[in-house]
Amino acid sequence: MNSSVAVQWKAVCKLDDVLPGTGVGVRLPGRQAALFRTRDGSLYALDNRDPFSQANVLSRGILGSLGDKRVVASPIYKQHFDLETGQCLEDEEVSLTVYPVQVEGDVIKLAIPA
């Protein structure tokens, strides 16, 4: 591996398991991620924990765009998080971990710190 940070790619599900325009929850070792598939087929993954309610629900948020940012809206209090960076649009002090995603064949893999 060339990357300076050691990561481990973990297969989580098949591409068909995630409907375009929706998200799913993913169990990772010691944490939960929210994996999203946008309408054009792009994949993103963030923490599943909503920092405003402490509930593990971000995978159930509605996807969309605000200006040129792709976002997910928390289903609890409706804050928006940037899918690319994890930044909360309503509170600059809050951001989520972003997990790199790749597809091999029809399998989706998430990168987690090794």
């Binding site: 509930a55 593990n56 159930r60 409706k78």
Partner: protein, 842 residues
Amino acid sequence: MAKQQLLLIGHGMVGQRYLESLVAQGGREHFDITVLCAEPLPAYDRVGLTSYFTGKTADDLSLVPEGFFAEHDITLKLNTKADVIDRVARTVTTNTGETLGYDKLVLATGSYPFVPPIPGNDRDNCFVYRTIDDLDAIIAASKDGKVGTVVGGGLLGLEAAKALHDLGLQTHVVEFAPRLMAVQVDDFGGGLLKDKIQELGVTVHTSTGTKDIVDGESCKHRMNFGEDQYLETDVIVFSAGIRPQDELARACELEIGERGGIVVNNHCVTSDDSIYAIGEVALWEGRIFGLVAPGYQMAEIAAEHLMGKCEQQFTGADMSTKLKLMGVDVASIGDAHGNTPGSRSTVFMDQTAGIYKKAVISECGKKLLGAVLVGDANDYGNLLQLCLNEMDLPGDPAALVAPVSDGAPLLGADALPDTAQICSCNNVSKGDLCAAIDGGAMTVGDLKSCTKASATCGGCSALVKQVLDSELEKRGVEVNNHLCEHFPYSRQEIYHLVRVGQITTFDELLEKHGSGEGCDICKPTAASVFASCWNDYVLNKPHAGLQDTNDYFLGNLQRDGTYSVVPRVAGGEITPDKLIVLGEVAKKYDLYTKITGGQRVDLFGARVEQLPDIWRTLVDAGFETGHAYGKSLRTVKSCVGSTWCRYGVKDSVGTAIQVEERYKGLRSPHKIKMAVSGCTRECAEAQSKDVGVIATEKGWNLYVCGNGGMRPRHADLFASDLTDEELIKTIDRFLMFYIKTADRLQRTSVWLENLEGGLDYLKQVILEDSLGIGAELEAEMAHVIDTYQCEWKTTIEDDEAVKRFKHFVNDDSADDNLKYVRERGQRRPAFEHERIELVEEA
């Protein structure tokens, strides 16, 4: 210092306004206040008296806020009439024999109806039209009568005629003058009004005087008009004008006008400076003001003067009026008869459409002096402002009355000065509205609640909207009702685009009419509109990503990420067996159980992966989804009605179930709540619901647009004495029209408050089908009803759909972050501080 004694004689609309004004200025610190009221009821809305016939109760009409007298420690003596004023001793003696001292005395005794001195005018079943008692007597007399006659074709006379007509009597109006509403309109206008009213089935006799009233042959009375002309009638109502109730003042020798009325100065002080007179009993510069707005003005001015503030003076009042008489718009502004020397008129008359408009123009041709409008009074607000503010006419005088093809206003709200009075009922100026807009008001509803503008007669609502739009624009607030950045359309427009373009998916909608990728505003809105129009299964693949999590998992998301489960219990009626099933399910999954306000059972704490199993059990037991998670019909609450109740008039439970079964699953701009009460005791609280139904002896009364919650609103009576079929048809149309035109997340109460034309307009559209869309609305509703499915039944039968009910895509386990504590025998999610303790214990 000891408090002074303030005595108010007369507790009508003006008297109550006086008390409110005085209390608001801290008058209680200086005065002990006693009020004498000759009637058995405290102040009520006499202007709205006729609505008593259409189902409003004395309580509805009351103008006194609950607890007002107790809160402000004011003594109210009902059924108590002042008999004698002793100005030297400063005392008032009442009909109950009591003598009360005063330091200051306020006379708000109002007026009494003038009964022409016709022999026989005191026979049985001859009434006046002034108090709730009068109306009760008229209602009682109408039960055995066939024919009713009103003597007097003025404003109040025509209202009385409508009331008789609504009571089912063959109705006549007898007017001495050659036309109806002689004070407000001219011959042409009066003629057109007569034609229109006759079309509605009321016979009008103008230029007709009554010689005497004697026993009739076919009816109780015969009114002889002379030359063998007569009319037989069972009920007679005199409405031939008012006279100031000034007896008390005469007896104690206050200065009285030649034709009656207590003479007052600009501060409403009478010839005795310890005594004020306000309202219809007061004579200012030889004039009596028989409208409520100037009475209110006097009340405010007199209260301020009492408190030592003398800036405000009464300087006369504009007597312009706009009203709807038996469905006909009539308005009169300023010098309606062109009495000003040199004035000239420009007239538009269309007998085919039943419209007459006249503008009276000054000699110089630049100012509007007065106007008469019959059949179409939409221009009232604009013309009134031109006239009151003495503004230069914007163009050709004929344009004031000529039909406008593009509907553009004659005069921008921009052109009005800040002092322009927009709402005359509540004395709200354009400046007041601007201040409220600066204070954050953004909608007509906001302005109405903070300034009271358009809250009384509603005649100025279109103008209020114009002021709002132009002021918001000036402040740089972009006045747009766009749904969000992805769609430059309002929800109503989106609905129209979807319906007309037969659009069935979000991708298609976005491609044709939007931009970007959508968001958490437009996606659920589109999903709701698709459901209202086409009623597809909400979890069909193209719709899945549009749904709010509640609709996606068909449950209500709670603060810890679990869901609650609410099966439908139509009308709140449930068998013991089904109740046991709910208990068993709750026990098996350890669900926190609570009874809802809508008469059903809410089971909390179900995890996503548990939902399909829970619902399999419920569906097997005969339950359906309750749509508690959706912006859709929630419940139809009912009282037990004639099923068991000894007072029940009709089967409220049966009707509630029928209504709930009919509209279940209907997706709408916001949630919809309904209720059905089996009698007027109203135990189901139907008047706090979007749709409320109350049984009467004669059928169902329908109330609409009520609300509890954050902004409570009493529902409006929409239609009375409906049959079962009429009830359903009316609700069909009402709901579909709401779904068609409301904004996103706008409850019916706010929708109505922002609907231009208000309740009258809504009645025209729904009850009279003025837009010709009644059949279309019914057909659209029929489609939704025909395509109903229980979303949970469909879901558990669809393996693909069930697969989505997992917390993790890569693991079947549950969310391990959930923590609970037990409280009162049930579990609830731990709060943050408890959570830490729980983790430490573990």
